[in-house]
């Protein structure tokens, strides 16, 4: 299947479901193009609501639609959705418990050179701090498909952050073999097992979103050096799958977390809380800096801050010394 942007996969799943389910409504804030939702709007104009550049309105209108039985999907750049309309997400969606799925597109530093106004390096912290809000960062289009299908089945709020670009898939081997990925909602996935019949894992890398692929690549680099790493794909940042973390991190020397987020309050902070309480050991958080991010494409920025396979491998080696 090759590369497909996660946002496009969300749209494809919803369009397939909308053939039968007329309660699905997609809403955009002048973001149908950037969100890859133009096909949805064109195919199902009666199930599409444009709010213009008004993110607060986008979220409140979604909540009102949901209160009247609609499955509302609010699609807007993560930077605006998680800040401009934060209070609407908190009060009208989470607190009022409306069936709104907030789709934060072009998340993290996807917008690269557009600068800090367009980056969402705070959304995991912000959204996770709201009671009754779930937070998901799928790693590739294959997982995004399963996640979107599963979320269609429930009636609870959720925030889903996806990147702007099509990224290399993590689970393409399943796709190549025509197999379903082993996906259970709110259970983390393990794309690389560091412990096998031949060897035991030295470290665990916990990653989410676009950082899972470089974490997997790092594990392959390290394996060549005789260092074995288990990679946890924590796409379900909230509810955080602490059972998997405790099980995998218990026996290893050190844990490294990697995320496209500010260094505070993100997935790494949550992992550190769990490791600190249940299996205390060294845990190192890799994240973006607490500063405006350097100008560049996603790849240039990730390379600069060491958020790539080489950087993760280096950090793992340092942490198990």
């Amino acid at each position: 299947m090759g590369k497909i942007a996660n946002k496009q996969m969300i749209c494809e799943v919803l369009m397939e479901a909308a053939k039968e389910d007329k309660s699905i409504v997609a809403l955009c804030s002048d973001s149908r193009g950037s969100g890859s939702f133009t096909p949805f709007g064109d195919t199902y104009p009666e199930q599409f609501v444009e709010t213009g550049i008004a993110e607060q309105n986008l979220v409140s209108i979604s909540a009102g639609l949901a209160k009247c039985g609609k499955k509302a999907y609010a699609v807007s750049p993560a930077c605006f959705l998680s800040t401009r309309s934060y209070e609407q997400c908190k009060v009208d969606v989470a607190y009022s418990n409306t069936n709104v799925k907030l789709i934060g597109i072009s998340g993290g530093i996807s917008y690269g050179a557009l600068g800090m106004s367009h980056h969402s390096a705070q959304d995991i912290a912000a959204m996770s701090a709201v009671p009754n809000m779930r937070v998901y960062l799928p790693s590739d289009h294959i997982q995004t498909k399963k996640l979107t299908e599963e979320l269609l089945k429930d009636e609870k709020p959720a925030y889903i952050r996806v990147g702007r670009n099509a990224v290399d898939p993590v689970y393409d081997s399943y796709e190549a073999e025509g197999k379903e990925i082993p996906f259970t909602l709110d259970k983390a996935m393990i794309p690389v097992e560091g412990t096998t019949e031949e060897h035991t894992a030295d470290a665990v890398v916990i990653a989410c979103g676009e950082m899972v692929k470089p974490a997997k690549d790092a594990a392959e680099l390290l394996e060549k050096e005789g260092i074995y790493v288990t990679v946890i794909d924590m796409y379900c940042v909230k509810p955080f799958d602490k059972e998997t973390v405790i099980k995998e991190c218990g026996p290893v020397k050190a844990v490294v977390t990697v995320e496209e987020h500010a260094p505070f309050g993100g997935m790494g902070s949550m992992a550190a809380q769990v490791v600190g309480e249940f299996c205390p050991k060294k845990i190192v958080n890799m994240a973006l800096p607490d500063a405006p991010v350097i100008t560049g494409t996603s790849k240039e920025v990730f390379d600069y801050y060491g958020l790539n396979a080489e950087g993760i491998a280096k950090k793992v080696k340092e942490s198990i010394l």
Binding site: S60, I61, G64, L65, K67, V91
Partner: protein, 274 residues
């Protein structure tokens, strides 16, 4: 049902509730009471029997701080008992908190932060249009609340989508916590503002008069192709000279002496209207 007398009976319930909970936005409760009574006992198809019906009318209390008046109306409507309300309001662990809470029967949406009700109602009204349902959607906003930009985002979308099944009410009591609305953030050209946003605007000369409110809501229901807003000119603290038109009665629990006088005034008005 004599709604004019009922408004003054429910004002007394509201004052008792505020005394029981030792907290309450009493001034706005008194100004908005007639609007709520007209909506719940004359206009809206809502009651405990049909709250699960997809065809019920929908209401969002956007000025959520006037919750004591709202609770008193919902209790009278039979959604919960007045005794339970007065025993639990604002108490430890209570569901009857100081802003509308949709874990309680009869309440659709949580509010409290201002400027949310109108845009949420836009979504509700839009859903009604999508599904060809005949329900109507109502919200009540405070006049101080109109400084929130999100109100105008909602106003913009309501006319864009021609939501004639939506009717907003502004409780125009001209006072907010810091003083007069025109001193805090002027908007006396409210009629023109809503009109320029594509709304049908109905001025209610006395928004504490049930007959005038009734006529305005009937007019709103007959206007097609655009949403309607009632600018209901009300008196903050309506019902007793102890609190009428006094900004410092925005949030206040009456003393024993004030309570006696207020209840006497409210009873007198109720009896005069009965």
């Amino acid at each position: 049902m004599n709604l004019k007398a009922l408004s003054y009976k429910l004002r007394q319930d509201t004052v008792d509730l505020i005394r029981a909970g030792k907290a309450g936005h009493i001034g706005g409760d008194m100004s908005v009471m007639d609007i709520l009574v007209e909506l719940y006992f004359s206009q809206m198809n809502i009651g405990p029997a049909n709250m699960d019906s997809p065809d019920r009318d929908l209401f969002v209390m956007s000025k959520g701080h006037s919750v004591e008046a709202y609770y008193s109306v919902l209790a009278e409507k039979g959604f919960f008992s007045k005794e339970q309300l007065h025993a639990e309001f604002s108490k430890f662990g209570s569901r009857f908190i100081g802003h509308p809470n949709n874990k309680l029967p009869g309440i659709e949406m949580n509010s409290g932060s201002l400027g949310h009700g109108l845009p949420v109602c836009v979504g509700m009204a839009k859903a009604g249009k999508m599904d060809n349902r005949n329900y109507r959607v109502y919200t009540v906003m405070g006049d101080g609340e109109l400084a929130e930009g999100s109100v105008w985002e909602g106003a913009m979308a309501a006319s864009h989508y021609k939501l004639d099944n939506l009717c907003a009410v502004v409780d125009r009591n001209r006072l907010q916590i810091s003083g007069g609305t025109e001193e805090v953030m002027a908007h006396d050209d409210l009629h023109e503002r809503f009109k320029s946003f594509g709304w049908n605007v109905i001025d209610v000369a006395d928004g504490n008069e049930i007959d005038q409110l009734h006529a305005a809501f009937e007019e709103a229901e007959n206007v097609k192709g655009k949403p309607s807003v009632l600018i209901a000119n009300t008196v903050k603290g309506k019902g007793s000279s102890v609190m009428e038109n006094k900004a410092n009665w925005h949030h206040k629990v009456p003393t024993d002496e004030e309570y006696t006088q207020i209840m006497k005034d409210l009873r007198t008005r109720e009896e005069a209207l009965s």
